[in-house]
């Protein structure tokens, strides 16, 4: 589904972040991208979202080179990206509002888009129905992130990109949302790429883990993790071993 072809990316006046980087993601896979701060994790996500563009090489999604954000790609950020002046419902509707604003032009909205503001299902699924009239400033971090997820899923994406989505949440909320995300990914048959600096999160969520190093990154280090998202995986020895291995590899870098 995703193919990075000899991708090179440089920020002005900074060292190269990616140098001839190749990577491939199949449809329906759940990936965690792990690495230390400044390794280019977020940059990679922005490249996949069509919000940044490589200096050379290509980002292909479904065989098409990416030249702008794709309507079927959902992006969820650490700070939720909610409009502070809009209620939970209005925030959840924002993506659909924007699509309605442009109409089905195939560029900003899918060509078969029919104007609708149907978000009730997602508000309900994410437990937000009692909060629909609240503003982001009135609800907890976990509820804000649920709102951001509802907003993204209302657009029926096929690819979900998440940038440290749970890192500012407390542990029980974080684990609850990790589980919920994995459930939704399975339910909606999404391809998931989650960027994180937390080893435990990568090991729990990613069926495959892409390890990034200090830049420039020129080789995709992939660690398979086929047992991720098994019930009680956090207590399995396999999980503990993987965490140890990841910690060691990150320490070696």
């Amino acid at each position: 589904m995703i193919q990075l072809d000899s991708l090179t990316f440089i920020y002005p006046h900074s060292p190269r972040v990616f140098q001839d980087f190749n990577w491939q993601v199949e449809r329906g896979e759940a990936w965690a991208v792990l690495g230390p701060s400044g390794c280019g994790k977020t940059t990679l996500l922005y490249l996949l979202a069509g919000l940044r563009f490589p200096n050379s090489g290509r980002v292909l999604i479904n065989g098409q080179p990416l030249s702008r954000p794709r309507p079927q790609t959902g992006l969820i950020l650490q700070d939720y990206g909610l409009l502070p002046w809009a209620t939970v419902r209005q925030n959840a509707e924002l993506g659909l509002q924007i699509r309605g604003f442009y109409g089905p032009d195939g560029k900003h909205a899918p060509a078969d888009f029919r104007p609708s503001l149907a978000v009730n299902h997602w508000l309900d699924r994410l437990g937000l129905t009692p909060l629909t009239d609240k503003f982001p400033g009135q609800i907890s971090g976990g509820q804000r992130q649920r709102t951001a997820i509802a907003r993204t899923l209302a657009l029926q994406p096929d690819l979900l990109l998440m940038d440290e989505p749970f890192s500012s949440l407390d542990a029980p909320t974080r684990e609850g949302l990790q589980l919920l995300t994995l459930e939704l990914v399975a339910e909606q048959q999404l391809t998931l790429i989650i960027v994180t600096h937390a080893i435990e999160e990568a090991a729990f969520v990613g069926r495959k883990i892409l390890l990034l190093d200090h830049p420039p990154n020129s080789e995709a280090i992939v660690i398979p993790n086929p047992s991720a998202f098994q019930p009680d995986y956090r207590n399995a020895s396999e999980y503990q071993m993987l965490c140890r291995e990841l910690r060691q590899r990150m320490g070696d870098q």
């Binding site: 922005y46 979202a49 919000l51 954000p69 309507p71 790609t73 959902g74 992006l75 969820i76 950020l77 650490q78 700070d79 939720y80 990206g81 909610l82 409009l83 502070p84 002046w85 809009a86 924002l94 993506g95 509002q97 924007i98 699509r99 604003f101 442009y102 900003h108 909205a109 503003f135 982001p136 400033g137 009135q138 951001a148 907003r151 993204t152 657009l155």
Partner: protein, 246 residues
């Protein structure tokens, strides 16, 4: 402030005024009762027309200032390059007390409504421009990116992010400058006009020596300022509810 608190404060001020009038006991400070009676009788005697002339000038200049300054502030807030070029100009012009430009404005635009509207416009323009610019520039990069990822291009960003984000800035700017605007309107209406509360206060105070009518004019001008202030307050509570509840 609660309605009850406002009423009590008004009452306390009226009592203080009444006591001061009793103590001073001279025609230059009539009691609030006398001024109240004059206010009512003057309503039929042209005070309403003067009030409406002043109100029209403030409203016209406010509308004009929002129409010009808000889009300009949004553009400057979005474009770092343009802001870099223009911010020294704004930095220098912003603190200049615009009222001193009144003679210049009168020379260029004549003695009609245009010069009075222009001078108030200048005061509001800079205030709105600066606040809207800072608000637009302060929108977090992540917020913009996340809305872009929902499919928003420049037009949708403007409609769904920049425009609603600038609303509190416009209202704050108005709240901060509406008092100054009315004060400057008073000064502007002293010059070459026969309509407006400034003229009414001046002519009754210094030519006709009708002090109760002069005070009725002062009350009318205060009501104008207060009315505008309360309107902005009401709009802010209605349109920016998220700020007070969050």
């Amino acid at each position: 402030m609660k309605r009850q608190e406002i009423l009590l404060t008004v009452l306390a001020l009226l009592v203080a005024w009444y006591l001061a009038a009793l103590l001073i006991n001279r025609p230059i400070l009539p009691s609030p009762i006398k001024v109240g009676q004059t206010f009512v009788s003057e309503l039929d005697n042209g005070l309403v027309d003067h009030f409406l002339a002043s109100l029209w000038r403030v409203l016209a200049s406010t509308a004009l200032a929002i129409a010009v300054a808000a889009p300009a502030g949004l553009i400057l807030g979005q474009s770092k390059k343009l802001n870099k070029i223009l911010s020294p100009v704004i930095y220098l012009l912003y603190p200049v007390p615009k009222v001193v430009l009144l003679p210049v404005v009168l020379l260029f635009l004549g003695i009609g409504d245009l010069s009075k509207v222009t001078i108030i416009f200048l005061i509001l323009f800079f205030q709105i421009l600066v606040l809207v610019r800072d608000q637009a520039a302060g929108l977090r990069f992540e917020l913009i990116q996340s809305v872009r990822s929902l499919g928003a291009g420049r037009r949708a960003l403007f409609r769904f992010v920049y425009l609603p984000a600038s609303l509190p800035a416009i209202l704050t700017a108005l709240r901060q400058s509406v008092g100054t605007a009315v004060a400057v309107l008073y000064v502007a209406e002293l010059f070459a006009t026969q309509k407006g509360l400034g003229y009414y206060i001046f002519i009754n105070g210094s030519t006709l020596f009708n002090y109760p009518a002069m005070y009725a004019g002062v009350v009318a001008m205060s009501l104008l300022g207060l009315g505008l202030y309360f309107s902005v307050d009401w709009l802010e509570r209605r349109l920016c509810r998220w700020q007070s509840v969050s």
